[in-house]
Amino acid sequence: MDTNAIQLAVPPFTLAIASGKGGTGKTTLATALAEAAGIPVTLRDCDVEEPNAHLFVQPQWHSHTEQTRPVPLIDAERCTACGACAKLCQFNAIAIAGGQSMVFAELCHSCGGCRRICPEGAISDKEVVIGTLDCGTQRKNPAAPINFMQGKLAIGQVMAPPLIRATKNIAAPEALNILDCPPGTSCPMITAVRGSDFVILVTEPTPFGLNDLELAVKTVRQLQLPFAVVINRADIGDTRVRTYCDSNNINIALEIPWKRKIATAYSKGDSLCDAAPKLKEQLHTMLQHIMHREEMA
């Protein structure tokens, strides 16, 4: 594979692994790609509501830091209940009732608008812990270590995007960035894929897989991100996903077969590359193709 070593794109390349439907194999693919790359990789688990890539990477952790976000703290002494903040807030996080202001912090999106607009200067930032940022390294292949990072949302917190942004922004040496994104097509997924150089949408050839793939395709097209599809468990279901991709000029970059040995490895937290060495080569080739394509663009 050395003869075939990937030329790192400059600036560093970011590849997002996303899907519409959950459970299609984003984490399986993201962790396998990190291993198959054969070059230093930074793998970031952006699925902060349920990060699980660490189960497959098994990194040696070296830091866990708390991440916070600001919410308004209103000084009742200075507040005149004028309502400017409540009127400005697009998320209904502030109400004025009975001559006083009330903050519903869980609805706040931390835009800081209320603090800026308050004519009395009565609003300051209160930092609330939303989760942790965990960093580690895996040196299974000493020549190509995996720098591993994950965001983990604290129990009871619902605002995933700020933590996803923080996970994407943890400083790392220049390397291929692989993002394991949250499922769906709402704010968390969009926050995760935004700004990537390329997106892989993982799907499965089932009616659910197709329905959610169509939503994901619309999303990445609106974000104007180049993308391709990987079909996982390719020999189950029907042909509608392939027909859809063909008729919409969508590149199917890889099909991963439905194999018992892959499922067994997955259930034990073993690597896909070890379970299916031939697939490792295919992943390497696909990665090379994707990064090369971007260089050409």
Binding site: F91, A95, L107
Partner: protein, 120 residues
Amino acid sequence: MNVAFSATGSELDSDLDQRFGRAKQFIIVNTETNAASILENTQNMNAAQGAGIQAAQNVVNAGATAVVTGNCGPKAFQVLQAAGVKIYHTKQPSVEAALKALLAGELEEADSANVEAHWS
């Protein structure tokens, strides 16, 4: 007393909307004069979040001193309570029937929300 009823239509015989935050609209009845006015709630019906809070805020701003509705969640309840607005939960089918029940003293003032907080 100005009473805000969550309603699915603009007439007194309209159905009582079981939802507070995402009610179609509010009919505000002055129980002394019997005058009724409409408070639109379309914006909150379609809000991504915080519909109850904003609906409560609007009802308070409109000068209502009591709310009659099917269900009211904890955040809306908190806003209404802070403004001293009384809350009555009822299963009465129409605004008219709910008004009649209120005037007959058949509705009991709620001391807490009767449904859980929810997202969108």
